[in-house]
Amino acid sequence: MQTAVTQPSPAGKILWAAIAIVGAWCLGVVALRRGEPINAIWLVAAAIAVFVIGYRFYSKFIANHVLRMDASRATPAVLRNDGLDYVPTDKWVVFGHHFAAIAGAGPLVGPVLAAQMGYLPGTLWILLGVVFGGAVQDFMILGLSIRRDGRSLGNMLRDELGPVAGVVAMFGVLVLMMIVLAVLALVVVKALTHSPWGTFTVACTIPIALLMGVYLRFIRPGKILEVSIIGLVLLLASIWFGAYVAASPTWGAAFNFDARALAWLLIAYGFCASVLPVWLLLAPRDYLSTFLKIGTVVLLALAIFLAAPTLQMPAVTKFIDGTGPVFQGNLFPFLFITIACGAVSGWHSIIASGTTPKLLSSEGEARMVGYGGMLMEAFVAIMALVAAASLHPGVYFAMNSPSALIGTTAQDAATAISQWGFVVTPDELLNTAKNIGEGSILSRAGGAPTLAVGMAQLLHGIIPGEGMMAFWYHYAILFEALFILTTVDAGTRVGRFMIQEIAGLIHEPLKHTESWTGNLVATAVCVGLWGYFLYQGAVDPLGGINTLWPLFGIANQMLAAVALMLATVVTVKLKRERYVWVPGIPAIWLVVCTLTAGWYKLSGSISFTAAAQKYAQAIADGKLLAPAKSAAEMQRIVTNNYVDATLTAIFMLLILTMLGFALNAIAKAWRINHPTAREEPYVALGSVTTR
């Protein structure tokens, strides 16, 4: 239980001073040492020190002064205890649940892409971003939701900013979700293109999940742990067997697909998975991916601590000037939208106002779960950055640059990348591919393969063995693909319900989620929406990730800005104006970043519009630009780029609208001399007898 603020003991003061000095020292080494490569442990130690200090001081400040969390106040879990959704739960259990819900593929992908600018910019943004932005958002939204019966972000926006603002924000969430699903599915496509081994193991997850579903339903109902162990053993067996499949001329060819074919397969899969009953495919896959996710995060942490790799990537590369091959654009604003999850993730505001506020038994525990949970995610992001930066930079750029820039052979790639100043030989690239059991490592952007190679090298350093690198590589690919596909299944289902709700406003019967017509139509619409962007990514001249990731980043940071705006409005409404900067400054920062990035994507040399015009001009001149093979394909690229530009404009408009609503609400609340926020009334914890 939280007690009143006490003066720290002398021993405590010394301890915190020591942590601060060690942290500052490590950060100094990371930031200032030039010329010689440094060990990753410096970076990890600096991160831990920053997180610990941020947690101890800043989160406590927010809890005591901004949110004024009160351990004597009854929480929704206590007041509305129903044993199912609202249950007072042990804080460590809530923490574990919350972390599992917020951690996904995002923090693993963004930092890997951002490593093209060197490890320092990404590290600093993750550390500062999380302490002053991301964790503040998660904690404050959780705090607000606890005071409002565990209401969702959409409901809170409606209550505090008005009904129109609520609708606008929810529309933004739906569009964001479609982009998230498309980009994540594209990461899988990029990882599996012409990789029979990877494709086979990922395909195996479907029969394994079906088997688990039947087992859980009919043979041993509800025995999750048991069935997950069975599933895990089968998965590992499928990785092992995959090597033989890939080696066989007939079977290898059967699982060898190009990006387009994989995109279509995923679209078809997404449709089936979200139409089938949840117990058959979605739920068992979800269990497996949840446990594998936690297990792999722990494995990655162990690998980094035991292997203590040297960071081979320079601290800062020349690509901070915006000429990088992985994503285009200057450090500002593009670094800040490329690393979204891990530093600030808007999506978390939905989780923090979902199940978590209904489980906390005391307001005093919200700090650990909300702020602490996000720090954990930032730590995952730091580890992903370490894994990417500990790779040979030549290998990193070979894996993450589009073929338009580095060609399609190891020879061309090595020449191009060496010219950028990262000397690498064709043999090094071919050897890496051979070690991980793949035909080629070129142009596999999207984070997953790079992280997989990084992890494979780290794990191989600890547990050597003939052919083990290939096993670890495919393990890492499988685990990312598994939880991305779970997100795709579950997201399609959520999207379907949202679409059915909107459709229900026009034609009432479409609203019924049990009706097969409504179900099939809404699922098709939902799959069509993300499938369009996925397919666009698969045929994109720059490899897809280069084009779509900024769109995802802008959308995710837009949602974070909206959540922080809500927190700012409520702070003013509670008449705590002197603390308005706590959520206000990160909100303004994100608005500036998203609007600037949006603007660059709308006009200028790296914009969607410029890309569209380039292809349109080529069509007019009767020329053919790679990778398009016909005029019709060129026309499609033009259309796709205009669609992306329109979407960017919509996001910008949306954020400006929300900013208008927020400023209006702040101005009103500032003039009124009493609190106007809509909190539930205070009920003392002691007065609630029913527990």
């Binding site: 205890n81 129903d82 044993g83 199912l84 959704d85 249950v87 739960t89 042990d90 460590w92 259990v93 574990g96 649940h97 599992a100 819900a101 917020i102 951690a103 996904g104 593929a105 995002g106 969702s152 979700m177 998230v180 980009v183 994540l184 859980l216 109902p221 509800g222 999750i224 742990l225 949840v278 117990w279 979605l282 739920a283 979800d286 269990y287 949840t290 446990f291 936690i294 999850c341 993730s345 999506w347 978390h348 939905i350 989780i351 979902g354 199940t355 489980l359 779970t486 997100t487 579950a490 997201g491 289902r493 959520v494 379907r496 319900f497 949202m498 989620t513 995802f552 995710n556 029913t690």
Partner: protein
Amino acid sequence: MMKPNLQSIWKRAVQTARLCCGVPDYDVYIKHLREHHPERDVPTYAEFFRERQVARYKGTGGRCC
């Protein structure tokens, strides 16, 4: 709070793992039913599990990227 021992740590780990999959603690639910709604039937764990499994994917939650 009692002193943590291996058994209670294991119990909590299982509780966390199940909650991550959207299945709250069955014993807590049964206790709640007995205390507050004695007139209602107590579901078996299998029934409880199925109900929660469907409820998890109703579209309210969502998960992160």
